[in-house]
Structures are given as structure tokens and as C-alpha cells.
């Protein structure tokens, strides 16, 4: 099973915002045991998908040089479940970029209705405490971004298509 909880990037503006979709499917393993008689995507995996979208947004801003990890979920409010057949449309915006972390606010919509609201705090791993090992095997992050249509939609702050970073 791939640990990817986002299917596709649909919009990406460097340093600003990103949107993406997650299609909930009945054959996903994660839905099997969670609530067998009434299947829905575990809400924590909605946070994970949004964090993957936001994590790439923050990481790209620093040209993928910082090791960005989800450090805190400041808020997570769910207005509806994500049920098989639903398409969740995630939107993440950077609220603040700091020297050692970043803050993002995000929404999830389904059929035009607000499905969830999530605030996330990302931290950058400090090499003096956590070593310098990369979070990804060589080429894995680039492969993941390609699978998710990232380069088809990603633009820089001026709207020009993003080149593939040397750090990927």
C-alpha cells in the first residue's frame, strides 16, 4: 500500500497556496477495519492528505532543502464524513513562514460543501538534534510528485511553470 493520501495536485502556487483532490474508494484498505458496517475514510487520513499537500507547499518554498514534518494539528473540525465515492477537494494556504517552521490553514470540500477545516503547524528538523539523513530515499519524492500531477500545475510566485529542483 502506498502512503499517499492525496491523489492529485490541481493547483500549486509557490509560497502561497495549493489545492488537490482525494477520491475515497471502497477498496482502500484503510476503510476496511475502521468502521466496517458504515465505511468512511478515517478522519486522521484527511489530516494526513492535507498535510502532504501542505508539506510539499512549505518544502517547495525552501527549494526542498528543509526537512519538513507535521509537528502539530492546531485545529481539526469535521462537518461531514468522507464516504466511498466522495471526492474531497483540499485547499491549503500558507499563513506564516518562520525560520524553524510554518503554519498553514486548510479546508476540505465535498460537492461544494465544507467538509473539514484544519490548521497545521510544520517544523523543520534541526540537523544538530536529528542528524542530516533525508526523509526520502533518492528520487522517491520526485516520483511521488510526478504521480500526483504536480509538475502539470505547479507555478512560481510569478505564475511561471516550476522547474524540477536539483534537490529532488
Amino acid at each position: 500500500m502506498r502512503w499517499l493520501w492525496l491523489d492529485r495536485f490541481t493547483e500549486f502556487q509557490s509560497g502561497s497556496h495549493a489545492t488537490g483532490v482525494k477520491n475515497v474508494a471502497l477498496d482502500e484498505e484503510a476503510l476496511d477495519g475502521y468502521c466496517p458496517a458504515y465505511t468512511f475514510l478515517p478522519p486522521t487520513l484527511i489530516i494526513e492528505g492535507i498535510a502532504q499537500l501542505g508539506g510539499v507547499l512549505v518544502s517547495e518554498h525552501f527549494d526542498f532543502e528543509k526537512r519538513v514534518v507535521l509537528a502539530k494539528v492546531g485545529k481539526a473540525v469535521y462537518h461531514a464524513l468522507g464516504r466511498p465515492g466522495d471526492q474531497l477537494r483540499y485547499a491549503v494556504r500558507i499563513d506564516s513562514l518562520q525560520e524553524n517552521g510554518a503554519f498553514c490553514s486548510a479546508t476540505s470540500h465535498c460537492d461544494g460543501a465544507l467538509q473539514a477545516e484544519v490548521d497545521l503547524m510544520f517544523a523543520f528538523l534541526d540537523p544538530s538534534r536529528f542528524g542530516e539523513e533525508s526523509l526520502f530515499n533518492p528520487g522517491d519524492l520526485l516520483g511521488m510528485l510526478r504521480l500526483m500531477n504536480f509538475f502539470e500545475v505547479a507555478v512560481d510566485a510569478e505564475g511561471r511553470p516550476l522547474a524540477i529542483s536539483e534537490n529532488l
Binding site: 509537528a71 502539530k72 492546531g74 499563513d95 506564516s96 518562520q98 525560520e99 524553524n100 517552521g101 503554519f103 503547524m121 517544523a123
Partner: protein
């Protein structure tokens, strides 16, 4: 018009309740952020963000955590901050109450120094600047 100390305290309290998941009544002026409210190093990132937003101020990292002083051999001897180092700390953090710390200025104790009241005074100093 500058907010009153009570107004600043209320917003600081709100930020700490949000960032640390503690109750309103735990956030007293005397409470220490680390020892009493359980703040971990990662929480300071969150606290700084919330204070910046609540008061529309910028908080440079070194103002709240003077690591450069505490790791400088010129200001630290045998794990304790020297008299010269204390002068530097007071210059950097005039809003912090260093009275207790001065009695036995062990570097390792510095992390548990800041109180809610210190944060209120810090924000007031930023608003007055």
C-alpha cells in the same frame, strides 16, 4: 490606543490555552511556561506564531531564546552564566524577571524561567516600541 495590561494578559492567556491545551485557570501570571504549563520546545514555535497574530507584532527568535548568550564561552563558566553574561541577558530580555535565576544561574535552569507575566511584559514592550 495601547491595550491595558489586562487586555494583553487575556490575549496571551488565550494564545497559551490554544497552543498548550491547558485550561484558562492554569494560565496565571506566575505560572512558568515549561514547568507549570508543560510547554515543550516545539510549542514555542506555536506560541510565537499565535502572539504575532494576536498582537500584529514580529518576534525574532533570539529575543525569546537567547541561545547565543547561553552557549557563548565568554558568558558561561562551569555551566553557570557569569556576571557579564547576566548583564547581557538583562539587556536582551529587560522584560524578564531574572531575580530567582540570578541566585544560582545554571544554564540548564534557564529554559524553565519564563512566566506568563514575563510574556505579558514582553508583548507590552513590543507594543510600546
Amino acid at each position: 490606543m495601547a491595550p491595558t495590561s489586562d487586555e494583553v494578559f487575556q490575549k496571551v492567556q488565550e494564545a497559551l490555552v490554544d497552543a498548550l491545551g491547558v485550561d484558562d485557570d492554569e494560565v496565571t501570571p506566575e505560572a512558568t511556561l515549561v514547568g507549570d504549563l508543560g510547554a515543550e520546545s516545539i510549542d514555542f514555535l506555536d506560541i510565537v506564531f499565535k502572539l504575532e497574530k494576536a498582537f500584529d507584532i514580529q518576534i525574532p527568535r533570539e529575543e525569546l531564546s537567547p541561545e547565543d548568550i547561553l552557549t557563548n564561552s565568554q558568558y558561561v563558566e562551569d555551566g553557570k552564566v557569569t556576571a557579564e553574561g547576566l548583564v547581557e541577558l538583562k539587556k536582551r530580555m529587560p522584560w524578564a524577571n531574572l531575580e530567582e535565576f540570578e541566585k544560582n544561574p545554571r544554564v540548564q535552569d534557564f529554559g524553565n524561567l519564563l512566566t506568563v507575566q514575563d510574556m505579558v511584559r514582553y508583548v507590552e514592550s513590543k507594543l510600546a516600541a
